[in-house]
């Protein structure tokens, strides 16, 4: 910032005062609305922090919170493992591999998570004799297992697309450069291509985690008592609307924390790319 012109020694004129344009007034009105509703929300939460509702139901909310974290964490982990062969098949030149992988990804990305969860949870009953024969019926009778199963398959399709996109995004010159140096394909992939691809994939992975966290509320519909399930139960017992408001605050807090954490991680991991 130059405060005075070195040639003439003249001071820079001060910035003109900002006028109260229509846009500015409108923006301030909107902000005032947000501030008032935010303050009202805080006040509402503050007077209810020790209300009978909170005292009665907070342990349920806490256990629901952990169930949600468990579902999201497990599904993402299993999905990540499953996504590796799917992405590999999807990128394969052999159509016998790439076509089924494409259909798999298309199916799970093109249908709602709710429908997939119902298909697994209720649809498993159709195959009861077969499942009993291989001893898996006990698992598929559990809503919790069905939810993990459906969510893992769903997220594996998304993660496979992220991974494939990121790997194909790395320029061909990297492969060629490694080949010119006499590095074999396996080492090229793991030491040269994958690290670059994962940096590209970082942001979509973060979005997928948030998507999964938000989508996990669907588990409540098939009788899993995750955070949203506990919320629904608390509301149906108390008819107190604050059940949903607390859930909204918790979810919002969780998503916002995750987003900020992910931003930090991204800045940390890409610090060598900043010039």
């Amino acid at each position: 910032m130059i405060s005075a012109n070195p040639a003439t020694g003249l001071k820079r004129p001060p910035a003109p005062p900002r006028r109260w344009t229509k846009t500015r007034i409108f923006g301030h009105v909107l902000m005032a609305l947000w501030i008032v509703s935010g303050a009202w929300l805080l006040y509402y939460l503050a007077i209810n922090i020790a209300s009978p509702f909170v005292l009665k139901y907070w342990p349920e909310y806490l256990s629901g919170f952990f169930v949600t974290l468990q579902i999201v964490g497990l599904s993402l982990l299993i999905g990540a493992i499953l996504s590796l062969p799917i992405a590999a098949a999807r990128a394969s030149k052999w159509w016998l591999l790439s076509k089924p992988a494409y259909c798999y990804v298309y199916f799970f990305r093109g249908t709602p998570l709710l429908a997939q969860t119902f298909l697994v949870y209720y649809g498993a009953g159709t195959f009861q004799p077969q499942l009993e024969a291989i001893g898996l019926w006990g698992l598929f009778r559990e809503a919790w297992f069905c939810v993990i199963f459906a969510f893992s398959l769903n997220t594996s399709a998304y993660q496979a697309e992220i991974l494939r996109g990121a790997i194909q995004n790395v320029s061909r010159g990297q492969w060629e450069g490694a080949a010119a140096l006499g590095i074999n394909k396996k080492i090229t992939f793991f030491k040269i291509i994958l690290p670059q691809a994962l940096i590209v994939a970082l942001r979509p992975y973060g979005n997928e985690i948030i998507l999964m966290l938000k989508g996990s509320a669907i588990a409540a519909i098939v009788t899993v008592f995750d955070l949203f399930g506990e919320t629904r139960r608390a509301y149906s017992r108390s008819y107190d609307f604050q059940a949903y408001i607390w859930a909204a605050v918790i979810y919002l807090f969780l998503v916002e924390m995750l987003r900020r954490l992910w931003d930090r991680i991204e800045i940390r991991l890409t610090r060598h790319l900043i010039r």
Binding site: T23, M31, T111, L114, A115, L119, Y122, G123, T126, I245
Partner: protein, 237 residues
């Protein structure tokens, strides 16, 4: 096989007609939400790219809110919140009768909130793709701010925003299934009823999935056409 066909027929024995109605409801819900979501999203994108910091902050709070809440929770907040709000207002006005919010309307409102926060991002990144010179050219020709926006910027904006808007539309189509949870008779709910009555859950939920897939495919081909139409000016160059 015969049994499956009977169950899917359109007669009194089959569930074909019920599910077909569900498809109509699902498509209607998505199509009714579309203009609200697009318009709201456009306004929010305008606010986000404004030079006025307070307006930008207000718009950012809106998107943070609706992108952070699970869609299902937004739906429940709108459904029960609206019900309670109307009830309170009615009581204040001196009426005393039970009021139930239509699940279709609650669905449209909630999905509009969610959809608009996503489309606003699409519009915003499209705005970034339009060079400043386009605005300056408009002003130089003596067009007002509104007219520059409408006649010069918007036609180019739509072309740039279309791919992202198409994605949001596909997400919206999938999100409509959530409204079945608050009792709207869409594909999901009708096939759920059919599954329960006929005890053929895998078939009926499989069909529901296939219907969503077909809707997505139709949308994709439609979107490709719209995109080609929006680029018709470029092809002749």
């Amino acid at each position: 096989m015969d049994k499956a066909l009977t169950l899917l027929s359109f007669g009194p024995e089959g569930w074909g007609d019920e599910i077909a109605w569900g498809v109509v409801v699902t498509v209607c819900l998505a199509i009714v939400t579309l203009p609200f979501g697009l318009f709201l999203g456009f306004l929010i994108a305008l606010a986000k790219k404004s030079s006025e910091p307070s307006l930008r902050l207000a718009a950012n709070i809106y998107t943070t809110l609706f992108r952070g809440l699970p869609e299902l929770l937004t739906l429940f907040l709108v459904y029960f919140g609206l019900q309670i709000a109307v009830q309170v207002l009615l009581k204040m006005a001196g009426f005393d009768f039970y009021f139930e919010v239509n699940s279709f309307i609650a669905g449209v409102i909630a999905l509009s909130f969610v959809f608009s926060s996503y489309t606003s991002e699409a519009f915003l990144s499209a705005f970034r793709g339009i060079p400043q010179g386009q605005y300056e050219g408009g002003y130089a020709l003596g067009l007002s701010k509104g007219k520059t926006l409408r006649l010069v910027v918007l036609p180019q904006l739509i072309r740039l925003a279309l791919p992202a808007l198409g994605n949001s539309w596909l997400v919206l189509l999938k999100d409509t299934s959530l409204v079945s949870v608050i009792g709207l008779s869409d594909v999901m709910r009708q096939s759920g009823i059919a599954a329960r009555v006929t005890k053929e859950p895998f078939m009926f939920f499989g069909i529901a999935c296939l219907i969503y897939l077909v809707l997505a495919m139709i949308s994709s081909t439609g979107l490709v056409r719209i995109e080609r139409w929006s680029k018709r000016g470029e092809a002749t160059r």
